[in-house]
């Protein structure tokens, strides 16, 4: 079972790694294109003449432009991301003329850098598990423009009216590539045991095949380190009925006995939630979630007579403002 989880987890990460490498300018153009041309051939409406086996090569011949005078030398970049080629065009056609705004004219009142804001309460749910029942939440919100945002996230749960475990993060989110933002900020843990403060840095974005990914590293007092990776996907059965699988892995660099943690991968959580979007902003759901403590942390829990694995039924609502 654990192997399946890991495979599930690593697949989108692998995809993201590939994407990030493109982002860093490695030329994956050939790979992208061949993938696409396979598709081109497979689409009957488009497959005008080429036989099923040859098209990838045919298309590449086209891309190489070898038959075209003077163009053969031009290098094709990747279709997405990448770095500007050396012979990229200069976008400046101003001849040194300044914009109207510099001449005392009131700025055209368009607002392409205007800030906007969003609040998504992804989970607000009650759970009934083998180890007890309670409530949990997960939410994120931001304020800012395309390039820079103040990003807030929180998640946690409570059992028997006491916060069991929770954290809140405040991050500066900065767009660095088409689908990726870097994040820099702080995290604060609360709940059982002493509070912990962390500096946080990581990336967040959309990996190929529409996986939402979040990977954050944390550095705390006393040389503590931690990492969290989260992946989410939306599988649409219909326009409104959506299955949302997700996976979260938490790891710690150093034992923190007061919070019942040992070093290494501490927990793996998975969930499957089926929601119905009455509106984009309002979607009730039901689902099932698993939580596994792993490694030393699992051993510690066993020693203390606590559950290592919990399966929970959940019901809640997803809200968007």
């Amino acid at each position: 079972m654990k192997r399946v989880y890991l495979a599930l987890m690593l697949w989108p990460l692998g995809a993201a790694a590939q994407d990030m490498s493109q982002m860093q300018g490695m030329d994956h153009g050939a790979m992208d294109h061949s993938a696409m041309h396979g598709q081109a051939a497979a689409q009957p409406a488009q497959a005008a003449s080429p036989p099923a086996t040859a098209p990838a090569q045919d298309v590449h011949a086209g891309h190489d432009m070898s038959g075209m005078d003077g163009m053969g030398a031009m290098k094709m970049g990747p279709m997405q991301g990448g770095k500007a080629p050396a012979d990229a065009r200069n976008p400046d056609y101003s001849d040194g003329i300044m914009p109207a705004a510099m001449h005392g004219m009131a700025m055209h009142d368009m607002d392409d850098t205007a800030a906007s804001s969003m609040l998504l309460i992804d989970k607000l749910e009650a759970f009934a598990g083998q180890g007890g029942h309670g409530q949990s939440w997960e939410a994120e919100g931001w304020y800012g423009n395309d390039t820079n945002k103040l990003w807030l996230r929180t998640e946690g749960e409570r059992e028997g009216r006491r916060p069991q475990d929770g954290d809140v993060e405040a991050l500066w989110s900065h767009a660095i590539a088409t689908f990726w933002d870097t994040q820099l900020g702080v995290r604060s843990d609360f709940g059982e045991g002493p509070k912990r403060q962390w500096a946080a840095f990581g990336v967040q974005g959309l990996a190929p095949y529409w996986f939402e990914l979040e990977a954050t590293a944390y550095v705390g007092q006393g040389g503590r380190t931690a990492g969290r990776v989260r992946a989410e996907y939306e599988l649409r059965f219909t326009q409104r009925l959506i299955l949302q699988p997700e996976l979260e892995v938490n790891a710690y660099g150093k034992a923190d006995p007061q919070r019942a943690l040992r070093s290494g991968i501490a927990s793996v959580e998975g969930g499957l939630r089926l929601r119905y979007e009455f509106a984009r902003a309002f979607a009730p759901y039901v689902g099932v979630a698993w939580e596994h403590l792993t490694g030393g942390t699992a051993d510690l829990a066993s020693e203390q007579g606590r559950r290592v694995t919990d399966r929970r039924w959940v019901a809640g609502v997803r809200l968007w403002f």
Partner: protein, 561 residues
């Protein structure tokens, strides 16, 4: 009514999309419903020139059963049709009765820069509670329109038709004419629509790929092909149903201010030649228009007479206008059916010998999906996509605000575009349009300005060459020069690009004059070129006419000096 409800489990959608049978535009006295006001309230008043008094003010409207506030001209949505004669010295006195700045831009008219009506470039706008008088000569004839150029006032109702009669009579005379101004209305505040798009750009798309759709594809095409089809789109994080940012999920589509159920009707006598002045005055919608049972003879594009061409259907991109002549011979009603490009709704009007008649309304077509040529441009070996050309990407196109690059754009003008390619009847394409008399300036362009239309759907960021308006420098046209503007669409959406103050003379793929326009729709992964004569000094707006694309940054300042 044969309209298809869009979403299951939501019976209210039908009424919302089709509007009210008794939809109406409020007058100063309050909300007036057309049911009681039909006789006394023409859908759109017409004012005859050359001097006009227009008041911009808020008024109550009700298109869907909910009272809303619109920004109106003389209390109407649309505002009055302005009619003047070629050669008139036009004077238009505007009083701004809003609490915010307003402006009116005369779309497609060649006017002096300080009369063009773009705040920040032409003038400072018309501040709240003040007046401004526009003065310019009407040097051209044809069908045009006007609209606000201030924030989202255009989406809120500030637009209307302009008809300029030629001094020497119509080249293609008709027995009567009707203005058909198509627009999109949302009960939501446009600021809210914009904020939602920037948070989640697919929020109005209820035609996303689903597992149900995948199984259907697998049944029809085989599992392997269905997987392959999804694979590439998903790998690219692109959506093949990404046709309209804002859809019938929030829009009600209007003809002359009437929702489909309100059925605006234009009368004719059987056998008459009827000129329809088709205007897409919507903020963010592209329409495919046909009149089942009638052929349309296209006689003008963007106000300019063209060599007549007979078609059964045509695509009206945002801000484009076409004049067509129809000759209904039967004593029956005909439906003017304009469905949005994503098939999420339609605008509808009726041509009939007598008021109150109506014809069948066709069902919406299935939602089209973007094809490979809409993403990759020219498919190798497919010569129908035009000559092989290489795009020259700008160095600024590799940042976070660009989500794809098209290296080999297609150049053909004879593609009617996504959703119209498999029609069995005749659909208008740009390749069919030939302006009567040819080019205004036969000089060969002395230089080329290449610009790429770029965007990032995930961030709802739009621009030219990967730059938003606020990041970019102006584009300099040297006074008197003839230059070529080459646009390459590096996105999967259509972008109607509008240059103020000067004509855009679209060129054939091999060079040579095609058609004179004020708004050139550039299809996904397509390259088009047009020639411009820089003969109108000043600072001009140059932008995508999708209002939300423009606001998000697909806008440039052009300086002629």
């Amino acid at each position: 009514m044969h309209g298809r409800p869009l979403a299951p489990f939501d019976p209210s959608r039908r009424r919302f999309v089709q509007g009210l049978a008794v939809a109406g535009v409020g007058l100063a006295a309050g909300v007036v419903r057309a049911g009681q006001a039909d006789a006394s309230m023409p859908a759109m008043a017409a004012l005859q020139g050359p001097a006009f008094q227009l008041a911009v003010r808020e008024a109550a409207v009700d298109f869907t059963g909910k009272a809303r506030t619109a920004v109106t001209v003389n209390g109407g949505v649309p505002g009055p049709t302005l009619r003047w004669r070629e050669g008139d010295d036009v004077r238009i006195a505007i009083t701004n009765q809003l609490d915010t700045v307003t402006s009116i831009h005369w779309h497609g008219l060649i006017v002096p820069a300080n009369q063009d009506g773009v705040p920040g470039l032409s003038f400072d706008g018309i501040p709240a509670r003040t007046a401004f008088t526009y003065r310019f000569p009407a040097k051209q004839a044809g069908t045009y329109w006007y609209h606000a150029h201030s924030r989202f006032q255009e989406q809120s109702g500030l637009y209307g038709a302009i008809v300029i009669e030629p001094a020497s009579g119509e080249r293609y005379p008709a027995d009567r004419e009707h203005v058909i101004l198509i627009s999109d209305w949302s009960d939501e505040d446009p600021e809210r629509v914009y904020a939602k798009l920037r948070t989640r750009s697919d929020i109005y798309n209820y035609g996303q790929p689903t597992l149900a759709g995948f199984l259907r594809d697998a049944r029809e095409k085989g599992f392997h092909d269905a997987v392959a089809m999804r694979r590439m789109w998903n790998q690219m994080r692109m959506n093949p149903t990404d046709l309209a940012d804002v859809s019938g999920a929030t829009y009600t589509y209007l003809v002359n201010g009437r929702a489909p159920a309100g059925n605006w009707t234009g009368e004719f006598k059987p056998g008459e030649r009827v000129r329809l002045r088709l205007i897409n005055g919507s903020s963010n919608s592209i329409f495919d228009l046909r009149i089942p049972g009638l052929r349309m003879q296209v006689v003008a594009a963007d106000g300019q007479d063209v060599v007549p061409v007979d078609v059964d259907e045509l695509r009206l991109s945002a801000a484009e206008t076409y004049d067509v002549i129809v000759t209904p011979t039967d004593d029956r009603a005909y439906t003017v059916f304009a469905q949005s490009i994503d098939r999420s709704g339609y605008a509808r009007a009726t041509l009939a010998p007598r008021a109150g008649m109506q014809a069948d309304v066709p069902a919406l077509d299935p939602r089209p999906r973007l094809a490979m040529r809409d993403m990759m441009g020219s498919m190798a070996g497919d010569s129908s996509d035009g000559d092989m050309v290489m795009a020259h990407h700008a160095s600024t196109e590799y940042g976070p605000n660009t989500d794809m690059h098209v290296d080999m754009p297609r150049t053909n003008l004879d593609d009617p575009g996504v959703g119209l390619r498999d029609r069995t009847h005749r659909v208008l394409t740009y390749a069919d349009l030939h302006t009567v008399g040819g080019s205004l300036d036969t000089r060969e362009p002395s230089r080329t300005i290449e610009l790429h239309l770029t965007g990032n759907m995930e961030r709802f960021a739009w621009g030219f060459d990967g730059q938003k308006y606020s990041e970019a420098k102006p584009i300099h046209f040297r006074s008197g020069e003839r230059l070529r503007v080459t646009l390459v669409n590096d996105t999967m959406m259509n972008h109607p690009i509008h240059l103020h103050g000067m004509w855009s003379e679209l060129e054939q793929p091999h060079g040579g004059f095609q058609v004179r326009k004020h708004t050139v729709n550039v299809q996904p992964a397509q390259q088009v070129s047009y020639a411009v004569t820089a003969d109108n000094l000043g600072r001009w707006a140059f932008h995508c006419h999708m209002l939300y694309h423009m606001e998000a940054g697909m806008f440039r300042e052009v300086v002629v000096s």
